[in-house]
Amino acid sequence: MKQVFTALALGTLFVGAPALADAEVGKPAPTFTLKDESGKEHTLAQYKGKVVVLEWTNPECPFVQRHYKNDTMVTTLKGFDAKKVVWLAVDSTAHNTPEKSAAWKKDEGFPYPVLQDASGTVGKSYGAKTTPHMYVIDEQGVVRYAGAIDDDPRGKNAKPANHVKTAVDAVVGGQQVPASTTTPYGCSVKYKS
């Protein structure tokens, strides 16, 4: 991050170009090892052979709240073959704790783990900017989709197009993902500063 500060001082900053490799469509996904809210460890490698959906989340964000109120994530997950697709939520909020995640999971009643990334290392290695920010990783560990959950930032469409569903269905069916990068929307990830 030193470069960024230098750039700031010079008043010549490029638009938010962090000195990190983001998760990029078509490239291998950054590896990670994270504990979930119950203390169980998850690595990307252990899910090789399955399609992995990563959801950057933060229960305090109105965008996330709206999607959980409408059960967007759970409904999307239900539409997939459980043997082929894994869903992992990641919380990179600096002040989040496993207890908070556990309470929220119990409240909302979703089945997937919430990976604890309060240090923000994994979030930044993926370049996760918003909550929700979604990534779809194929069976070989290659990023195949990055961006928004759907095309409806304001929650106004009766029938939003779910980009993650489209992407996972395409990857499972051995097809090209039609729109593999979309602009994510939501609150910014509240990284530790």
Binding site: V15, Q65, R66, G174
Partner: protein, 774 residues
């Protein structure tokens, strides 16, 4: 915030609107003020609806604005929010008033302390202003202006805000300005970036690579020149904010001395082939010297889609033995090169394509009238000495190339002006159509012998001035270009598409190559001695033939009058015909004048010129009214629906193959294809059998979304035919520009077989092979 509370702050309906008429807003009606984004009972944003007039006269303009006041540390977002957040939205509900677009003041840039997330917006106080116009003849005594504002208000956490602001303004015999609000608006509008050229600035962008590649970084230099030779002031802080640019993940500028900026950006990994522009706002100056805000627009470079083979078009690659499926493709499809390859071909190849495209133009239906005219010209010229023939050929070529260069410079000028143009665009301009019509009528009357330009008739042979004859040849060259442009021959679209996305010199080079190609066949015919001798001997038949040709030209004007009908309706056609009658009268007067001499001749010519100017001023006023859509001929064409991206997606989602016909009334090749191919029983049966959804994208008038779609496939003009399969919606097949019923039927059959409902295991491999990959 507890979980229970945050639950209540849902997006829909969960937001309490606190209507507060605070003391500080005493001058505003209570309905024009609201606060929202309640944060544990404390609203974080206050909005007010401001109007700079206390009374408005119907027909007058005034200004409306939404003022935001935010708690310290909180902000709302600009039209490109950046890495997160949401654009602030103002929806107007103003019966009897038309409201223009929002004017966005230059935004602030916000960064998280680690610099990882960057957003753009406003904190403290900001006003978004729009121009408004009260409609004439409003009968009510009051105008009601309402604004529904949706904003995302963020500090560390974010709260969605909804504001309903409304107020009434009395109508009156004159507009009474509210000086205080007007002054506030003026101050705020001074911060709104204006197009660079409005203040005499010029921005040029030179990229370090000739093209952008999906997923790759790109760099370049933006040079800004101030009006006159003034120095461009230094910049400070966050001086540049880019708009959202399709296919570009991020782009930024760094100062590199006065007026020079280093550009750095990155293309999206799955960017489509396109020709993106760099658009954004630039702040010159420093806090000490005061700021100047500019809107910058400069073409970047053609984007090469992911997986696009750079260098040579895939169609040129010899098919490998393994590629047996490809051999099943119809021969015609070989012309349809993948768009990615088209956009990425080199300049040399583009010039070759342009040259051959130009040569092929001679065979296109729209050049036929000119060809006929030239055939007559040949026979006349061959009778003259060899030397003159060479001169005529040169004049003809010069006429063509000169016109091409003129077109190229118009293209560059229009492109610089920000309007997106396409091949054949000049036929979207009514005045241009009228001009061409007038030239054709004048030519026809000349052929009938109403007047002469001192270039034919043996009686005048002694008096013929060299330059007149050559001028005529040059004029024929000009006419050839003008009539050829609406039809893009195969490959021509590619070359022009390439040119439109490239630098100015490339555009000039490609247009020159086009012109050379168009002129070559004629010049060869004339200059090769053996060929010239084979042409028929002159005689009385020539005079008759000439008159017959006059009718051919008049027939061409009928087509142009019909084009005008598409542009300006029945009234426009009538105006054009009236003008053409005047043109006839003028040529006749001129012809009379030629028989006279001295002062009388001058007077006659002056009267002729006067009539021409007066009638032009009287009749050539075309407003863009919507013409009544004429029912199209041809049963297949009649069942078509107007093209829109949503409708296409809906059809694909329903499992239907899609055929899109990009066409225009002034494009004879398009009409030819529609009448002779798309209306045949074979095509109709294929469409019915495979349940093809048939869309027409009509480009008769300028249409930005169609222009963009054409550019996406590396084309700058019509016709273009796309076949999309529900099984591979992201891989459209581009059909050749000269269709045959077989090509169309095969393409839709392939698309239908590719539908997901018919896919067995592993069949998708076969599916993809039928479609050029991006």
């Amino acid at each position: 915030m507890t979980h229970r509370q945050s639950k209540r702050l849902g997006f829909v309906g969960g937001i309490g609107l606190l209507l507060v008429a605070a003391v500080a807003w005493a001058d505003l009606p209570a309905s024009a003020v609201a606060s929202s984004a309640p944060d544990e009972g404390d609203p974080r944003i206050e909005g007010a609806l401001l109007v700079d007039a206390t009374q408005v006269k119907p027909g007058d303009t005034f200004r409306v604005g939404v003022r935001f006041r935010l708690d310290p540390g909180w902000h709302v977002y600009w039209k490109n929010p950046g890495d997160s957040g949401l654009e602030t939205e103002v929806a107007w509900d103003t019966p009897g008033v038309t409201v223009g677009p929002l004017q966005w003041p230059f935004p602030q840039t916000f960064r998280t302390p680690d610099g990882f997330i960057t957003t753009h917006g406003y904190d403290g106080e900001a006003i978004l202003i729009a121009d408004a116009k009260a409609e004439e003849g409003s009968s009510t005594g009051m105008l009601t202006v309402s604004a529904a504002v949706e904003a995302l208000v963020c500090e560390v956490h974010c709260i969605p805000a909804e504001l309903m602001l409304t107020r009434s303004i009395p109508l009156g015999p004159q507009t009474v300005r509210d000086a205080e609000t007007a002054a506030v608006f003026d101050t705020e509008l001074a911060k709104v970036p204006r197009p660079a050229k409005d203040s005499g600035h010029a921005a040029t962008l030179a990229l370090d690579a000739p093209q952008l590649t999906a997923g790759q970084d790109f760099t370049g230099t933006l040079t800004l020149t101030a009006p006159g030779s003034a120095a461009v002031p230094a910049v400070e802080g966050d001086f540049f904010v880019a708009d959202r640019i399709a296919g570009v993940v991020r782009v930024g500028l760094a100062s590199d001395g006065p007026g020079r900026f280093k550009l750095k950006g990155k293309a999206e990994p799955d960017a489509q082939a396109s020709a993106p522009d760099l658009t954004g706002v630039l702040r010159l100056g420093t806090a000490a010297t005061g700021y100047q805000y500019l809107e910058v627009t400069a073409p970047l470079a053609p984007m090469v889609a992911a997986g696009g083979a750079a260098g040579t078009p895939a169609a040129v690659k010899p098919p490998s033995v393994k590629d047996s499926i490809a051999a099943v493709k119809p021969v015609g499809a070989a012309i349809a090169t993948p768009p990615a390859a088209e956009s990425s071909m080199g300049l040399g190849l583009a010039l070759v394509f342009a040259f051959f495209g130009g040569a092929l133009l001679n065979l296109m239906p729209c050049v036929f009238p000119v060809l006929a005219l030239k055939a007559y010209g040949f026979t006349r010229m061959v009778q003259q000495e060899r030397g003159r023939v060479g001169a005529h050929a040169a004049a003809y070529a010069a006429g063509i190339i000169g016109t091409m260069l003129l077109l190229a410079s118009v293209v560059l000028a229009v492109r610089a002006g920000g309007a997106s143009v396409g091949w054949g665009f000049q036929f979207q301009e009514p005045l241009f159509v009228a001009g061409v019509c007038a030239v054709l009528v004048a030519f026809a009357l000349n052929l009938f012998g109403v007047f002469n330009v001192g270039l034919d008739g043996t009686a005048l042979a002694g008096k013929v001035d060299q330059s007149h004859g050559l001028m005529h040849s040059a004029g024929e060259g000009v006419l050839a270009v003008v009539l050829a442009t609406p039809c893009s021959a195969p490959l021509l679209g590619t070359a022009v598409g390439f040119a439109f996305a490239a630098g100015p010199l490339t555009v000039l080079a490609v247009f020159t190559a086009l012109g050379l190609g168009l002129a070559l066949p004629f010049c060869v015919l004339v200059l090769v001695p053996g060929l010239a001798k084979k042409l028929p001997k002159p005689g009385a038949w020539m005079e008759r033939f000439k008159q017959v040709l006059g009718f051919a030209l008049l027939a061409t004007t009928v087509w142009l009058v019909w084009v005008m009908g598409g542009l300006a309706g029945v009234d426009g056609m009538a105006r054009l015909l009236a003008f053409l009658v005047a043109v006839g009268l003028v040529t006749w007067l001129y012809g009379q004048g030629q028989a006279q001499d001295g002062m009388r001749k001058l007077a006659t010519v002056a009267v002729a010129a006067g009539v021409l100017v007066a009638s032009g001023l009287l009749t050539l006023r075309f407003d863009d009214q919507d013409p009544v859509a004429a029912p199209r001929l041809g049963s297949t064409v009649a069942q078509a629906q107007p093209w829109s991206a949503d409708a296409v997606n809906a059809a694909l989602a329903a499992g239907q193959p899609v055929f899109i016909d990009f066409t225009a009334d002034w494009c004879l090749t398009c009409k030819f294809n529609e009448r002779t191919v798309l209306s045949t029983d074979e095509v109709r049966d294929a469409f019915t059998k495979h349940q093809v959804a048939f869309f027409i994208a009509d480009w008769t008038r300028r249409d930005a979304s169609i222009t963009a779609k054409l550019a996406e496939h590396g084309r700058a003009g019509v016709p273009m035919y796309l076949v999309l399969s529900p099984g591979a919606p992201d891989k459209p097949e581009v059909l050749p520009e000269l269709l045959t019923p077989g090509v169309v039927a095969d393409a839709v059959k392939r698309a239908a077989e590719c539908a997901p409902s018919k896919l067995g295991n592993g069949a998708n491999v076969l599916c993809a092979a039928g479609f050029p990959s991006h």
